[in-house]
């Protein structure tokens, strides 16, 4: 998008805010599940994958033990495939462990309508029968269209439907930020 089209870009979380939110969520995950036994994280492509890696890294620092991590592409489970003229590009799902009997924390950057999470839960259950599915998001922006609620939330950011939320996460985390774009 050319910058002239961006009428307004408002910063809502900077790198420090994001790092602190990730640290808190990592602690909450460990607290709720009493450690890392049977715990695994699955990032939803593409926005949730970076965040899942950051969370795993933080959990590792706290517990000094590693947690399995997977990546889930939900495209094949979308509820609008039969309405689209051209099919979206597929990315690969890679969950290199058995999800059965595990506590799976689904990770996504933004929780909006809830449709992505519905698709992700269906996709995950096709891989096995998790003991429990929890949901961690960096931003909850409201406007749910399905009865879905996050277990862990970085920040609640009330938005209007016309606004766009962009979560920019880098490998190193220096320029991480969350911005609202007004259409």
């Amino acid at each position: 998008m050319p910058s002239s089209d961006r009428q307004l870009e408002r910063l809502v979380m900077d790198a420090g805010d994001i790092a602190r939110a990730v640290t808190r969520i990592a602690h909450e995950i460990l607290e709720r599940n009493k450690g890392i036994k049977d715990l695994a994280l699955v990032g939803i492509r593409t926005g949730g994958v970076h965040l899942a890696h950051q969370l795993v890294k933080r959990i590792q620092e706290i517990e000094a033990a590693s947690v399995p991590i997977g990546e889930l592409d939900i495209t094949l489970y979308r509820d609008d495939l039969s309405l689209r003229k051209e099919q979206p590009i597929l990315r690969k799902t890679s969950v290199p462990f058995d999800v059965s009997d595990k506590i799976i924390v689904l990770v996504d950057d933004v929780l909006f309508t809830g449709r992505t999470i519905r698709a992700a839960m269906d996709g995950l259950i096709d891989l096995g029968r998790p003991e429990e599915i929890q949901l961690a998001v960096l931003v909850d922006r409201g406007h749910r269209q399905l009865p879905i609620k996050a277990t862990y939330i970085g920040k609640n950011i009330p938005t209007s439907r016309e606004e766009n939320i962009h979560v920019l996460l880098e490998e190193e985390g220096e320029d991480d930020r969350v911005v609202i774009l007004k259409a």
């Binding site: 489970y77 309405l83 099919q87 590009i89 597929l90 690969k92 799902t93 890679s94 891989l127």
Partner: protein, 306 residues
Amino acid sequence: MSLKRKDLLSLAPLSVDEIQLILETADSFKEVTGREIKKVPALRGRTVVNLFFEPSTRTRTSFELAAKRLSADVINFSPSSSSVVKGETLLDTARNIEAMQADIIVLRHPSAGAAEALAVGVKSSVINAGDGWHEHPTQALLDLYTIRERGLSFEGLRVAIVGDVAHSRVARSNIHALAKLGAEIRLVGPPTMLPRGVEKLGARVYYNLDEALRGVQVIMMLRLQLERQGIALFPTIREYARLYGLTAERVKLADPGAIVMHPGPINRGVEIAPEVADSLSSVILDQVANGVAVRMGILYLMSGAN
């Protein structure tokens, strides 16, 4: 990048990007076919019709399995059990199928150009599953996928295609695609089986198998179409096997890591020696397994709303 086509009729008009998109999409489905539950809901509510005017087990089953694993409804339609024996034309048959709201028609037909003719006449997407001596695009795509899966890159890849090139739709589709992708193609067979002017497609012609196999990384054997041998293309099957059959000795002439491919069904002891077909360098069964994933990818990409 997306596949902006209603139909998949041949590989000749496809761009390199389109071919790569199909192969990358198939990657995702390869993962799905490795799961315990090998089914995804992507094509729920869609109907795929397999319209096969020629006998086929492999291709029809492969398409059927691909469609079912995408949760589509599948109907198999073959002429012996249908109104075709009562004299209905291809287009009328297809229009009737379309009236039943088929989204995708998979056509196998003995006449070259049948898929193209059908595609013009119906709104459904048409996938060519082999039309006469013309093309068999999905077979070539699964061949490409299998080559790529072995870690070989297409640019400069040395490929020998051996056998009845003139009457092979598999060869034609592969030549088109491999040439686009920058491979070095060698066509080998008796002069009666090599079409005149085939060099224009970017291939080199050889009449001596040993010479052609030197240093190749992929050996693609074609099936000797014994049922078509009303036309005398060579004196005896024995002579053909001696001159153009792939033996373990001959495989040694190729690159040490060379793979042996065959679209099936194989004539053991004719174009391929049993010990070669069953050897470690043979990827014949990988081709069959990959066929389902590649066809899932194609069905998925062609299933956009009309």
